[in-house]
Amino acid sequence: MYLTKEEERIYDGEAGWANQVCMKILVRLGELFNATRLIPIESAHVSGVSYKTIGDAPSEFLEALASSGGKVNVEATLNPQSVDPKYLRKRLPESAIEKQLKIVRQFEKMSFTQSLTCTPYYLKKPKRGSHISWAESSAVVYANSILGAWTNREGGPSALAAAIIGKTPDYGVHNAENREPNILVKVEALLRNETEYGALGILLGKILGDKIPIIQDLKNASKEYLKQLGAALASTGMTNMFYCNYSHVKTKMKEIQKISVEAKDIKESIESLSTAPTPKPDLVFIGCPHCSINEIKQIANLIGDRKVKDGTEFWVCTSRFVKEKAKKYVERIEKSGAHVLTDTCAVVTWTDRLGIKTLMTNSAKTAHYAPMLNKAETALAPLKECLKTALKG
């Protein structure tokens, strides 16, 4: 791999240990994947923030990095943590919260933006065609497929190294030739809601591996529906992007493999993700990935004057930024007895310690992970049904 004089100096340790170890990570990864050089990035988004998910192991490394002068060199955002600032902080054990806050403090020392969201693109949309270095697989798929920014599917440590150096090795989908689709998916069913888009993603992830699909007949889907599709796709597969129209594509459609998906496949996918079709779940959860302003508005309008049922928890999760912007709608949602939580979500917090054994959600990604990560039975259903279950009347 070619390094500039300045990059070499950092590699040799002249800019201190923190920069050196980050440069080593980028260079060695680049060599593993046959990169030719490092390229500047517009932003980085780091995963591995939630204490529940990562445990004690990363704290020591983050501390070492922060205390030896590690500082971000580009706009750098953080994935969600395990608690929100108010509601859950009162209900969870202090020792766990303290460890969580310590992790975030290390990131703060290194000048990361305290975004604490899996949808950093709602805070600041990366430019079309810009190179970025993002972890959080749902955001990676969204950036590549819907925003047209270019990012590999980074892990927590490699995105962290990229944030500090401000560069990434030029392999994978940072090269135009690796962004061409290589399989055509024909959807022979009318997808009616976000849950069906998510179910399609779960199904395709299992079949596609790391292939890049063109998914036909989704042209009219909202960005929120495609967000669900991408999040689910990344949960079961290694795919880091998809196309839903042909206009930017050079590949000749005749030359690539084709598969089709039928209505019964979608139905089966939803059924396989619903382990607990209970009429009274302990928790109804909306906001995986974190809600957009539009989604918050839609939820507020659908709730109307209704109230949350006694004995049911109803959470809507989003970022601090979106909550602030959508204040008017947030107030209406909270009037129902629902909780609009920021900085976290059901998957990355300790729902089991809150006594939650059954969980209903409209997110296929959550339904995929919750049995494992939350030890909860799940029911997967579209927003309107989730609301019907959560609310009186």
């Binding site: 591995g48 892990g155 927590g156």
Partner: protein, 137 residues
Amino acid sequence: MKQIMLRGRVIVEGICKAEALVSTKPISFLGGVDASTGEIIEKNHDLYGTCVKDKVLCFPHGHGSTVGSYVLYSLAKNKLGPKAIVNQTADPVVAVGAIIAEIPMVDQIDIKQIKTGDVVEVDAYKGVIRILKKGES
């Protein structure tokens, strides 16, 4: 005994001599290895119950969460880490872990040549592994 020498690619430089601990299965450091004891805790793993401390840990490649890199760092800081890592094919999780934990690492090695209990020398400057003494088994 004729000394066996294997040649691979350097991932992290260093040199050491230790007993080999060899697995035919991939290792997930997050969830698979206890960072507070160095023990392999993944059920049904062929190294289940063994400790990676001070071994030349040989396995095909890593898998699982990228947080696994940090587990290697913690192991090394607590002096529970392997002396060296030898892989068939390095993957990003283990490679990054070895870099930040400063554990010598070589890949592109036919690990079937090495048996648990062999005494091996890893020269991760040159990318060379020498089997100095075959184990009892």
